[in-house]
């Protein structure tokens, strides 16, 4: 596993929750949004095992419904527990982000 994919593994879950929070999303759209935000090298399919896990943990809920453009698709939305998990992720991320940035900055100079 490359260093990048190792780093990304834990973060991706938070990113997915965050995107689903913006509006109910289906798999393909979700992977396109991740890429649009710059995570292009995440293989598109890698979101599906994560989506299954998030459903199992009851953080998101999927529902087959008709899309605006036609076919029935499985749309995901956050559950109450999902909202809490996302808030916790954001909190933990903030706690990590600044110290790590500072350490790296010191190292570079």
């Amino acid at each position: 596993m490359s260093q990048r994919s190792q780093l990304l593994k834990g973060i991706l879950e938070g990113c997915i929750l965050s995107i689903i929070k913006m509006q109910p999303t289906y798999g393909y759209e979700l992977s396109m949004k991740l890429q649009a935000f710059g995570l292009f090298d995440v293989s598109e399919g890698s979101i599906y095992p994560i989506l299954l896990r998030l459903q199992k943990e009851k953080l998101i809920i999927g529902e087959m419904r008709k899309s605006d453009t036609g076919p029935k698709r499985k749309y995901y939305q956050l559950t109450e527990a999902g909202h809490m998990q996302l808030a916790e992720f954001i909190h933990q991320w903030e706690l990590l982000k600044q110290p790590v940035d500072k350490i790296i900055e010191k190292g570079v100079n």
Binding site: Y26, S43, I50, L52, K72
Partner: protein, 231 residues
């Protein structure tokens, strides 16, 4: 939407894949379905449809299954299977009881009607059947174990043929399945011969088996309707 409806959509949509993507996708589909023992059928079919939808949309951009799911499709499928939640044990028990009852019904029906027909129309065999209760039970249990092994072996065989770059020739595959089937049919015939006689002797008119078969079949039919086991 229940899993059967999702399977139907999957069957229709799959036709829109290119030949190359269809080959990849069908390998994944077979592998995931075969490995979903103890897994929720509903969740399995939902994720299979999502993967198909994704592949169809990506296909319009000229992508292949390997671009989307990575180069090791088998490994990818294992990751997906790992995350599919388990089926309730209750459903598995229901399904197994259904299979066993229906299997016994078919054996009993065949035995009853063929035995009856041979006796009354061709004067072959006896109008009643005498058997030992102990041996009878052992034979039935042996049949059920054999049926289980047969299903296992066939599933294993199908699984082995997934994700092969080079597909085996049709006639080779046919021959393999034929040999497996012959071995099992041989064992089915062998079991009553090798099981020794013991237990209480019972004598029943051959038609009793047909009646028992019909009753068991009705029971399996009602169970299926009530609990929607196969639909």
């Amino acid at each position: 939407m229940n899993s059967k409806e999702i399977v139907q959509i999957n069957n229709d949509k799959r036709k829109m894949l290119t030949a190359e993507n269809l080959a990849y996708y069908e390998d994944m589909l077979v592998y995931i379905r075969l490995n979903n023992v103890n897994k929720s059928e509903q969740q399995t079919e939902e994720v299979l449809l999502e993967l198909l939808e994704h592949l169809l949309l990506a296909q319009t951009e000229g992508k292949t299954a390997k671009d989307i799911f990575g180069n090791d499709l088998k490994e990818y499928c294992n990751e997906v299977i790992e995350e599919i939640p388990g089926e309730k044990t209750n459903d598995i028990v229901k399904f197994l009881s259904f299979v066993i009852i229906q299997f016994l019904a078919i054996i009993s029906l065949c035995h009853g009607f063929i035995g009856f027909g041979l006796h009354y129309f061709f004067d072959l065999g006896a109008g009643s059947m005498t058997f030992q209760l102990g041996s009878g039970i052992i034979i039935i249990v042996g049949y059920l174990i054999l049926l289980y092994l047969f299903v296992k072996v066939i599933l294993q065989w199908v699984k082995r043929t997934s994700f092969k770059e080079k597909k085996a020739k049709k006639w080779v595959e046919f021959l393999q399945v034929w040999i497996i089937s012959m071995v099992f049919i041989g064992l089915f015939i062998l079991i009553p011969i090798v099981v020794p006689d013991f237990g209480k002797t019972i004598s029943l008119p051959i038609l009793t088996f047909a009646v028992v078969g019909i009753i068991l079949y009705l029971v399996s039919f009602i169970l299926n309707k009530k609990y929607r086991i196969t639909n």
